[in-house]
């Protein structure tokens, strides 16, 4: 059989050559298109499957967390309390190691043991000031009464105040995008830190301690606050003989709670059961 008998006769020799070339070009073009499409799809899928960090409800770790921690530690140990001898590099390292490369909902007190050991600090007797819903006022107070300490006037409290931090199980990086809120999980690294530090702060207190409470809200003493949940119950009756409460109210507004209110009564009861004397003063006349 002659193979050439079925050769298509469509115009001139040139035209046949162009269409063949065009087909090759088209084929190559289509092939490339398919390759690109596959690459894009793969990219999307892979990108989605292993995100850099997990997404949480709370705001992410504070920008430049390490620099702030180190700077604050040096400021505190050199300018605020030079009598403390602490290696700030070790503190920074212990802080980071507490939460890095770990599931941000898996925090335990053990994670912070090395940090708390390095930052161990004794507050002198009669100088401890607790606060609940009165943070700004309490800090203004200790700013002018310089020998008094709120938690944020201790080294570790000073370093961590207003900061947020968390990591990721699959990464050795700090997660700056988001961190778990208490709603996501209660055993997040920030909550566990403050609960533990508050507990130690209260355990170490001695003599007469004070608390600033907010008389402009309905429950000046809130059983669910850190003060109510952790600090009150961590006071040591062998060391603390009196808790003096100050119930302060916004000037010019009627007080919502007072020393004779029921929440303060609850506090009085808790303390009397623990053998700690309770006194209360308010500023509303």
């Amino acid at each position: 059989m002659a193979s050439h008998r079925f050769r298509v006769v469509s115009g001139s020799e040139n035209e046949a050559f162009c269409s063949k070339r065009a087909k090759i070009c088209l084929g190559v073009f289509l092939g490339l298109l398919v390759l690109v499409a596959v690459a894009v799809v793969l990219g999307i899928l892979l990108g989605r499957r292993s995100p850099k960090h997990q997404q949480w409800d709370g705001k992410g770790s504070t920008a430049n967390f390490r620099e702030i921690v180190l700077g604050r530690c040096y400021t505190y140990t050199q300018l605020v309390h030079p009598e403390l001898s602490t290696d700030c590099r070790k503190i920074e390292k212990a802080f980071i190691n507490a939460f890095i490369s770990k599931d941000p909902c898996s925090a335990t007190e053990e994670d912070y043991v090395p940090l708390l050991k390095l930052g161990d600090q004794t507050v002198p007797c009669d100088k401890t000031v607790f606060w609940s819903k009165t943070k700004e006022l309490a800090h203004q107070y200790t700013w002018v009464q310089r020998e008094m300490f709120t938690l944020e006037n201790t080294l570790l409290g000073y370093i961590a105040d207003d900061l947020s931090w968390c990591g990721d199980a699959d990464s050795s990086e700090i997660n700056h995008e988001s961190c778990p809120s208490r709603r996501n999980c209660s055993s997040n690294f920030v909550s566990v830190f403050w609960n533990l530090l508050s507990k130690r702060f209260a355990e170490n207190a001695c003599g007469m301690v004070q608390v600033l409470l907010n008389g402009s809200i309905s429950n000046a003493f809130d059983k669910n606050s850190t003060f109510g949940r952790v600090e009150v119950h961590s006071l040591q009756p062998t060391k603390v003989h009196t808790l003096q409460a100050w119930v302060v109210q916004d000037i010019g507004k009627t007080p919502r709670d007072t020393c004779s209110g029921s929440s303060l009564n609850d506090l009085k009861l808790i303390l009397s059961r623990r053998n700690i004397k309770f006194t209360c003063q308010e500023n509303y006349r």
Binding site: A63, E67, Y141, L212, V248, Q249
Partner: protein
């Protein structure tokens, strides 16, 4: 949390060369930490600022003879760290650093020089190179008594100029009417570097507060002594001004706390809390 300096330093064996305290140890870490903190917590909208670059610009003075540092040596540092100051919030002062810091509330109520980036990084710190060596001098640093062109004074001159230039609206000045050398130092940072740089087209008026120490002498008040000199100067410059003795809001912070003016008497906690609470209402 604002920092608060404590007295005391290292006891050195050899007599110090200069009359001021030495370079603060870990200066770079403190500087970078404060810069990072300022940008992360106080003014996050300034995220284009680069703390490393700002430090690099600052540290050129650490290579210079400690008596040859001029305010202009900080030009690049200021250039990289300057930022806008909210209108009507500027608070100038003389002889009441701690009271001003307390009253300014970390930049929330007022923005003093310690609350802008180029003032905050150096607040309460000292730094200088050694006289005859390339390292930093941790033992002592020159003050104005030793030589005029020392690193710290030149820093504050440079920062003060910029702060005044960037201030707008109502300008506030807090003076100490119990200061024996005069509430308004005619030769001082405010007089020499800030007043001359207030911008006539940006400033609406100037409000002077003359505060007196609790139980302290009322050496000068509005319209008297050096305060009068300031008032006349401002008038001559064409500024509208007013003056208040013992401005109430500041007095609330000051009340019952003589320690703010370096007195050591014990205060009653309770009235203090009332005073603080009342100020918090502003």
């Amino acid at each position: 949390m604002p920092l608060q300096p404590r007295a005391g330093g290292a006891a050195g064996a050899a007599p110090a060369r200069w009359s001021g305290p030495g370079t603060v140890p870990q200066l770079q870490s403190v500087f970078l930490g404060r810069c990072a903190e300022f940008l992360a917590l106080l003014r996050p909208e300034l995220r284009d600022k680069n703390c490393t670059a700002i430090w690099e610009a600052f540290k050129v003075v650490l290579e210079k003879d400690p008596c040859s540092v001029l305010p202009s040596d900080y030009d690049l540092f200021i250039n990289l760290s300057r930022h806008s100051i909210p209108r009507d919030k500027s608070l100038f002062w003389e002889n009441n650093h701690l009271l001003v810091t307390s009253f300014a509330e970390n930049g929330h109520r007022f923005v003093s020089l310690s609350n802008v980036l180029y003032g905050m990084v150096g607040d309460f710190l000292t730094w200088c190179r050694q006289k005859n060596d390339s390292g930093l001098d941790y033992q002592s640093c020159p003050t104005s008594e030793d030589c005029e062109n020392n690193p710290v004074d030149s820093y504050w001159k440079s920062a003060s100029v910029q702060y005044a230039k960037d201030s707008s609206g109502v300008i506030h000045v807090m003076l100490n009417g119990s200061e024996p050398t005069g509430a308004y130092p005619v030769k001082g940072f405010f007089a020499d570097f800030e007043v001359p740089n207030l911008q006539k087209d940006k400033v609406t008026r100037i409000e002077i507060w003359v505060m007196h120490e609790i139980g302290g002498p009322k050496l000068e008040s509005c319209g008297e002594g050096s305060v009068k000199i300031l008032e006349e100067r401002l008038e001559k410059m064409g500024f509208q001004y007013s003056c208040i003795d013992d401005y109430q809001a500041v007095a609330s912070v000051q009340r019952e706390v003589p320690s703010l003016y370096a007195g050591q008497s014990v205060s009653f906690i309770f009235p203090l809390l009332v005073a603080l609470a009342s100020v918090a209402q502003m």
